[in-house]
Symmetry: C2
Subunit: 464 residues, 2 copies
Amino acid sequence: MSEDAPRTDQGAADEARDAPAAPTSSTTPRVQTSTTEIDSTIIHPGSVRINVKGAFIVDQDSASPSGTPASRPSYGTKDIRLPYHTAVVSHIAVDIGGTLAKLVYFSREPYSREPGGRLNFINFETNRIDDCIEFMNQLKMKQQTLNGSKPEELCVIATGGGAYKFYDRIRDVLGVDVLREDEMECLIIGLDFFITEIPREVFTYSETHLMRFEDQRSDIYPYLLVNIGSGVSMIKVSGPRAYERVGGTSLGGGTLWGLLSLLTGAGSFDEMLDLAERGNNAKVDMLVGDIYGTDYGKIGLKSSTIASSFGKVFRIKQEAEKGTECQSTDPTSVDDRPPPAADSPAAPFSSADVSRSLLYAISNNIGQIAYLQSEKHSLSTIYFGGSFIRGHRQTMNTLSYAIKFWSKGEKKAYFLRHEGYLGAVGAFLKRQPRNWGRRGSFEEGVGLGTEARAEAGSRAGAEE
Amino acid sequence: MSEDAPRTDQGAADEARDAPAAPTSSTTPRVQTSTTEIDSTIIHPGSVRINVKGAFIVDQDSASPSGTPASRPSYGTKDIRLPYHTAVVSHIAVDIGGTLAKLVYFSREPYSREPGGRLNFINFETNRIDDCIEFMNQLKMKQQTLNGSKPEELCVIATGGGAYKFYDRIRDVLGVDVLREDEMECLIIGLDFFITEIPREVFTYSETHLMRFEDQRSDIYPYLLVNIGSGVSMIKVSGPRAYERVGGTSLGGGTLWGLLSLLTGAGSFDEMLDLAERGNNAKVDMLVGDIYGTDYGKIGLKSSTIASSFGKVFRIKQEAEKGTECQSTDPTSVDDRPPPAADSPAAPFSSADVSRSLLYAISNNIGQIAYLQSEKHSLSTIYFGGSFIRGHRQTMNTLSYAIKFWSKGEKKAYFLRHEGYLGAVGAFLKRQPRNWGRRGSFEEGVGLGTEARAEAGSRAGAEE
């Protein structure tokens, strides 16, 4: 089971392993939907206006069915409750990347006494795309229970590369319309939604201050979005639909997962992150102090600065081999083809050390490139999204530190609690009228609610 | 034995494996040096003016003693012949980095009928620094034969981190003065020397044009030097001694050597480069086509673009494990702790594929960061130096391509035949008067020689 919530030392820890709602199969009473709404939804799939008044992140979830072992869907991201939305939603959105397929759908809450419903977030491994399609098929069959629409009325909005690669398969299996949306545009629409509509969504992170939620702002443009999935895309956003992919790097999550699966034998990303948590990168990284024996003060490089990631490994291996040849007292013994980093106390470094080093290397590198791109394009705000982050403390801390270090404290890294779902949420919303949502509601003079939940805090009330 | 010469498909190939001169132990006749010169050298160690008139790179070397197996020094870089230099040189220079110690010294040519001598280039692994010190000790003992000075007159100019870390050891073993010089300054002095003084030293590289020597230019500033050793330093140079380290990355040569020694079992960098030469990175890298099934034309990403380095590995490993569990027909079988990439035909990917992928990833990444730094600092000329490059075709091609790709063809990557010795040569020259050298000779009205060798070509003649 994955953990997408930021792990921090303050309070958030108890929120980290909640299981989000998944559809249940029982038929239950639901809030009535008018025939007009249903018709409108059928004619304009996905064009229903979502009422996000009072939307908030569900931190404690009572409904917690777990996925079947076979399909292994990955839960963990907090649902978003929309207490005032009662209209039929007959579309689901899926963002199919190289490694993960992220799904977003709306559901009523059959057991809740309150009206409204929630946005559900769930992901599948892309190489188990059939499980994802089967899950969508189940949603389709439950459409009537969930939302009041008929199964055949479902529409799938798909984005990401898999929207093209698996287009035929999704359409054939589900027998429904599949609409494809551009990946970058969806990311931006999703991010704009999270920034402007969802309280306690955006935060900064540092070792000293840990997780700090950001006050909402009206002038959100321009900004740089760094989306870290298997690979990394960097997108300059200058207005609501004005964006340009300015760069990226192939050294992303897929690189970490791939290399660590070879080097440590870890079978899941969570296992890798747990390893990294315990490791000491100085066992494998060559630090400035290893080369100089001291700081390189003249150019401001501290003794603890990483000069070369994995820079010690080649030497360690050579010395180990030399030791084997010469029967020296070197405790390490390696074959011609050495095994992955061993975890015995005698080994010069462990799987944990390797994991931490690579996590640092990848995160630092993304941070530096993001900073340089932000400089080139004069952007002072940098958002980090994508499934690589997973609310992992070290990852966020390294990215934050890199931005702070390179910008000499002038720029900040911002994170999101739904960081992996920007594209899926964007796809979900893509078919909405432009003025949907909190700001839209406000502009339209929709009555200000006083029901803003405690979780949303005073800020949410103020926004409305 | 290493290969530092650019491997190309045109002509240069036959130059690639020549062995440079190393000091011989026999006593042989030498060109006479005046007592005044000797005295001057003793009083001002290293301050002798080097006469580089007609200097050229020795492409075919008759003297080829090989290092003893025990010391395993790495030869390969072409010596530079200084046909008119006859003064005593009583200093040697060493640049001790995290992985390699690079040594530069001058020697007369006992067997040659021509006057003058040559600059010799040799490197040692830093973890065998005692071999390097012993080699310097041998040079010291042979000083009289080599250069006419007495052993005790030798002076060592040291730079790089090891100049600090091994300072006491070098001084104690050799019993000579050790002068330390700043690493970045030496790199720049060395590079300026190679750019301005040595014909056929600087070149561009591309798949279509292969190796193309650059015309010399008088306005060499400003430029960006990207020095790739174990780690990477990027230095902005705006004038003869005006430089600033603007950035760098820990993902450098040490990362490639370290990770590949773990992943492939290769025991030397040359073995890794040979592997990379044969590999297919598409076996392990996730390409845009793997995600989209096609191009992502809207943002100009080709189907063959690498979206995620090693992005396929995690999935392959999972599928292999699943195959083992379920007795599927998947030909791959891996343990809980998988061995390094296997080379059997049935394996989904080989050590060669892994090597090529990582070489691409590291080189591409350095290229992108170099480009972004050049943009930030408005530098249009980018030189790549350091022992990582080793004249390796794929490495140079990837770096060149990255600069061309990111700059949309507006910037070029320049390489050097002595790329690994910038710092050592800079240290060697640091103690010279500022106006030494070819340009210095010209300014001082030293007679123009007509002996410019064929290798130097018409360009060299024109400069003089």
